[in-house]
Amino acid sequence: MKKSDLDKVKIKQIPAQKRTNPFANVFDEFVGFCRSRSMFMLHYCTGCGAIELPPAMTSRFDMERLGIQPMVSPRQADILLITGYVSIKTLKRVILTYEQMAAPKYVIGICSCTVNGGMYWQSYATAKKLDEYFPVDLYIAGCMPRPEAVIEGLQQLMQKIKANEANSWKQYYKNYDYFLGNQQHLFGNNWQTPTDVIGEAETYQLAGPNTLGEHTKILQSVQTPLKPLEMKL
């Protein structure tokens, strides 16, 4: 597939939906509020931007007062912080990590490198536009952004979560074919992650018309099966 074809796929924003039952609504809002006030972040320290996170977490700026805590494993985390340039080899790992996180999950690209490759824009080995490969909620530009900027960005994300607008993670399920296509474009057709994204989308009713397509067909033809080991008597 040519690059130009991929660009034609447009991603629509998913509007915030409210349930009809008022109690359910209140409940949703409460959970949303809790989500915004408790964010566990996984900082994928790919580049120099990671150095700005310790001051943001420790006594000078103290992220914990906003309910933001560092976590070490993708299973536990809500936010994936990508702090710097992402080489193609790293990108595979970033995608693996992103897919292992539990939804709702958010991605923040910190530093200019995550926006457009930054100072590595000419490099054959650096991925340029991260949101081609998985949805990114927020970019914090700068080389590197200071802790104030990081916290400012996180607070913006907080507002979005509270308003139930930070739904980009649903895009990944609904437009999986598009993202997978871009990934295959870089990694070749044998590309496969251990996470069964299609199965997840079906389990949680997150599949849309664009979940499956020509790229997922390629994936399904080459992938080693990911069926869980079920108990059998």
């Binding site: 494993s73 993708p74 299973r75 595979k92 790992r93 970033v94 693996l96 990590t97 292992q100 992650t193 251990p194 996470t195 069964d196 199965g199 997840e200 389990t203 949680y204 080693t224 990911l226 069926k227 869980p228 080991l229 079920e230 108990m231 059998k232 008597l233």
Partner: protein, 623 residues
Amino acid sequence: MNTLDALLLISLLTALASGLGQGHRLIGWITALLFSLQFVAIMVMGSLGYGGAVVEASISLSIFGHPVSWRFDGLSWFFALITIGAALASSIFAAGSWAEDYRKHGGKPGLLQFAIALNVFTMLLLLASGDLLTLFIGWELASWSSLLLMMVAGGKAKNFALRYIVYATGGAMAVLAGLGIIFQLTGSFAYADLAAIAPSLSTLQIVSLSILFVFGFGIKLGLMPFHLWQADAYAETPGPGAAFLGAISSRMALFAIAVVLVQLIGLVKLINIEIPFTFLSFRDLLLWVAALTIIFTTFTALRQNDARRLLAWHGIGQGGYMLIGILLLDPLGSAGGLMHIFNYATYQAALFLAVSAVIYRTKTADLNQLGGLVTRMPLTFLVMLIGIIGLAGIPPMNGFVSKWLIYRSLIVEGMPLLFIATVIGTLGTILSVYKLIHNTFLGQLRLEHEQIREVPWSMLLPMLVLSTVVFVTGFMPGLVLDWVVAAQAALGIPQVAHHLGGIESAHGSLDMIWISGVLFSGFGIGALLFYSGNKTKHVHQLDNYAGGHFLTADTRYHYTNNFYAGLMHYIGSWYRNSFQWLESSLVSVVSLLSGFTQILFHSFHPALFLLITATLSLYFFAG
């Protein structure tokens, strides 16, 4: 013909039938059927378990003018119930698919059944003994028949079995010497005569008698320092045989010790004997031998990488708990010790059978070669889970109740160091049983095990029944405590006050019905909380956090080797194999001596050698 006659007859019949019908295809099932008949017979005698009158066998013999008689009381019944139950479970397990598989690999399942049946018969004879001579005869028969069971597998097992019989012969000599002393004192082998003169025995006589009997019987129990033979010999016995041996065989020693030391000689005398230059009484010494047995063998088990050896080593350690309980003599402690025999037999048999089931499917018991079997053998996993909770002595299984009684009694008796020793044993058990279940059933499923299935029903049934017993008697310990109280009465020691749920006491009681009930309601609340979250999606085992690494099926992603590395960094250097060294040096000394005599005999004139020996012995006897 009374019920005891019937029981012994059926038992003999079982042994004969399984011995004669070796080649028959259905011999396994026939033996199992006969075992269930024995089980019915023992159930018919059930009133014994609730304090019924002693049953005398109608047959009695006389050897050199000494009467040999058999009878059953509450204690015998309690042990016999466990024996026959264990044999029944093992026999059913060994009857069906297991036997076919075993035969295919060159084994003789009929021989195994025969060995088990013979063991049961001889053990029943031992349990039914009505005087010391009968006791000794039963003891010897049981020893030799368990040798047969250990040798069934052949090969390596033969060496271990021979090692056992060397120890056992030593033990038999000691018992014989003890009997000799008693015969000199009383002129008869009757229980009553010994009990009658017991109060008038001197300290030296009591100490020498108890040392001889504890040494003689303790070898079978695997008491330190005679514990080396047991684990290897049991582990190499084919699965169901190991389950039977592990569950009950060595507990015969406890029966004998209880009868001779507790019932006849009387422990109170031992308590009153102070060991010079120490603070210890003679009983404390025995208690400490038992406690050290617990600690040493449990921590040896922690290092094992073979599932069967791990269990077999634990078997020796658990024997220590029972001995401590019985020697404690107060109602709580002795009830704990006796109850532990029952409890232990149920979960040890279940565990050995579960391990055998794993071996049946995977052909290995190496804990570094397994993993992830829970998805393939979930019921075996359940059996093992219940078994290890029992073995570790964690509520709500029955192992907890008997251990609780022992702890409680140690607190009441004011024995802090022994209490700590028993708890260290329990903690070590928890560590090693987790290693057992983790390395076999949890973690990553190996590629070569993807296709295996659960074991057939003939094997599952005994395992499931045993684990049900483990659970039910943990939930309602009163069921077993009734029998224990009858056994206590037979031994003539004070009886524990109990009810269906456990123990009632002014200084801290135990009610397992409430505790299990609350525990399971707690699980219910936990489940409610858990399922209030969104539904889960099961993922493949390779969808796993590996620091961003892509896992493949051919790479092992399972931590098994040197499982407690951190602990072993610290205590690893404490394992010095001193007892192995002691044993091998003894063997060397003996072989050196025999070689020396042989040289003497061959290089000198044999006739001269014989002459010297003859003169010396004449001098010895005449002078």
